[in-house]
């Protein structure tokens, strides 16, 4: 049985103009004056790993190590420059939730739109509106534009939509802390339920403590390369002692 996530020798590099040229006029002037300062960025360099069902795979590393880039590659947002990524089963990307929501739309409209953006069937989403608002605790404001929502309500609603499935692959960027204390406990319970439901989980976090408690395996990235890969405790201890 193949693993849900396979990342084989993935490299992502792109050209970056350091001068951050933003207009045609600037670009033309710079070309004439031969001032173009183009540089190749290696965001990821020869990264390979697999994540099995029921496994919680932690990714650590300093800022700019390529953690977020890796998440985006697994979530299919960025195509790898070379190498291969295979994902089996439905993916739930828990990366900055609610970015497709529009404050002018009602909660109901937002739920259906956001769900469809996450790749779910709009018809199915229409039926899921009630349980989703109920879980988020906003059932009294279903047909109200979400611009009148507090940021906590917005966060709860987005979390509720994003977790309203049983994904085979779960990609989590940073710890999701939304809402008040009671909701945090509730959302943590739901995350645990998803994680323990047999899906393959990749978690990126700066909180080593949290990863130590839940991760089964871990990877330490540094400037786009794997510095360590293996048992969670070993990798995390290695990362901690590196300062």
């Amino acid at each position: 049985m193949s693993n849900p996530i396979e990342v084989r020798d993935v490299t992502l590099r792109y050209r970056l103009d350091k001068a951050n040229v933003g207009t045609i006029k600037e670009a033309a002037l710079r070309t004439i004056r031969r001032q173009r300062t183009v540089e190749w960025i290696h965001a990821l360099d020869g990264v390979s790993f697999e994540v099995a069902r029921g496994e919680i795979f932690g990714v650590v590393g300093p800022n700019g190590a390529g953690k977020s880039t890796l998440m985006k590659i697994i979530a299919r947002v960025l195509p790898p420059t070379t190498g291969r990524v295979i994902v089996r089963g439905q993916v739930a990307p828990m990366i900055e939730l609610g970015s497709g929501m529009n404050p002018e739309l009602t909660a109901r409209e937002n739920i259906i739109l956001y769900g469809a953006m996450l790749g779910r069937d709009p018809k199915h989403m229409r039926e899921r509106v009630e349980p989703i608002v109920e879980w988020a605790g906003v059932e009294d404001f279903v047909d109200v534009p979400t611009r009148s929502y507090s940021s906590g309500m917005m966060g709860r609603l987005a979390f509720s939509v994003a977790t309203d499935i049983e994904p085979e692959v779960l990609v989590v960027d940073e710890v999701l802390s939304v809402g008040d204390k009671a909701f945090r406990a509730k959302s943590q319970a739901r995350m645990n339920q998803l994680i323990n439901g047999g899906s393959a989980v990749v978690v990126v976090s700066h909180s080593i403590e949290m990863l130590k408690n839940m991760a089964t395996r871990a990877m330490w990235l540094d400037r786009g390369r794997i510095k360590m890969l293996g048992d969670a405790n070993e990798v995390l201890s290695g990362y901690l002692t590196s300062g």
Binding site: K72, G83, V85, R88, I112, M117
Partner: protein, 283 residues
């Protein structure tokens, strides 16, 4: 293990088949496209008192001003081809010009405007341009109402050829989506591309006989060639002939209309998808 669990959802090695993949996506994501169009329309009109009627009022105001200024110059004494009143001729012209320029700009800016979504979850980006084009087409359909009223009451009446109007409508959607995708590829790199596009579409609209008539430039063969080589001109000729003329337009106009639409869409989708790999890291 059930079969569903091991389904490959994403394999980065599977080759995108240029054009085929994109058109499959247009179909596969039709539910999302519909929701995006509804969102565009809802968001735009939610806070205005006039609501969706603003769509109709906006071109009507332009038309009103142009009519006051130019009705004494053009179309006096039955100079127009189908004997229609100048106001009908003018309205048809402005509607096509507005559809074209708003469509290209909306489809062109849709990708940059959806940046927040596109860098966080996988949605085929070309979906957003098509949805913006469909929203522009919806505006066009709404503003057909006043044109039909004018034609029915002031003009020659509504002919049977009205049933053919969906053809230029759909082909224009292809044209603006294709051109919009070309604009969008460049707009990711350079912020000023959208401003330049705004200026260019406006210039292009002056080059088609919206408020003026062809006999105005009849003395200059060069000017005639310039005007007639613009694909939007052919759309306008076909549209006018079918909306109130009740005849068949010249074949070359039909060919130009269909040809430019197919070519623009194919080219736009192809260039955009070839560039997307390089573009997405910059978003």
């Amino acid at each position: 293990m059930t079969a569903a669990e091991s389904t490959v959802r994403y394999d980065s090695d599977i080759l995108r088949r240029p054009l085929i993949t994109e058109f499959q996506n247009f179909w596969r994501f039709r539910g999302l496209i519909r929701l995006l169009v509804v969102r565009d329309l809802t968001v735009r009109y939610k806070r205005s008192v006039l609501g969706v009627w603003w769509t109709i009022l906006n071109p009507m105001l332009t038309i009103g001003v142009l009519w006051i200024v130019f009705s004494n110059f053009f179309g006096r004494g039955g100079a127009l081809e189908f004997g229609e009143p100048y106001i009908v001729y003018l309205t048809a012209g402005i509607l096509i010009a507005t559809y074209f320029s708003q469509g290209v700009i909306a489809a062109g800016s849709a990708i940059v405007n959806s940046r927040n979504v596109l860098i966080k979850m996988y949605i085929p980006p070309e979906i957003f341009s098509l949805a913006a084009g469909v929203a522009a087409a919806t505006h066009f359909c709404l503003s057909l109402i006043p044109l039909l009223l004018l034609t029915a009451f002031l003009g020659p009446g509504i002919p049977w050829t009205i049933v053919l109007v969906p053809i230029p409508l759909a082909l224009m959607l292809m044209l603006v989506t294709g051109l919009g995708l070309l604009v969008a590829s460049a707009a990711v790199y350079f912020r000023d591309v959208l401003d330049i596009t705004r200026v260019l579409t406006q210039l292009l609209n002056y080059l088609i006989p919206t408020f003026w008539t062809l006999d105005f430039i009849a003395g200059s063969p060069k000017a005639l060639v310039l005007v007639k080589s613009n694909p939007v001109y052919s759309f306008l000729v076909v549209f006018r002939t079918w909306v109130y003329g009740g005849e068949m337009p010249p074949a070359w106009n039909l060919i130009m209309m269909a040809g430019s639409a197919v070519l623009a869409l194919a080219l736009g989708v192809y260039v955009f998808s070839r560039n997307w790999r390089r573009v997405v890291v910059r978003l």
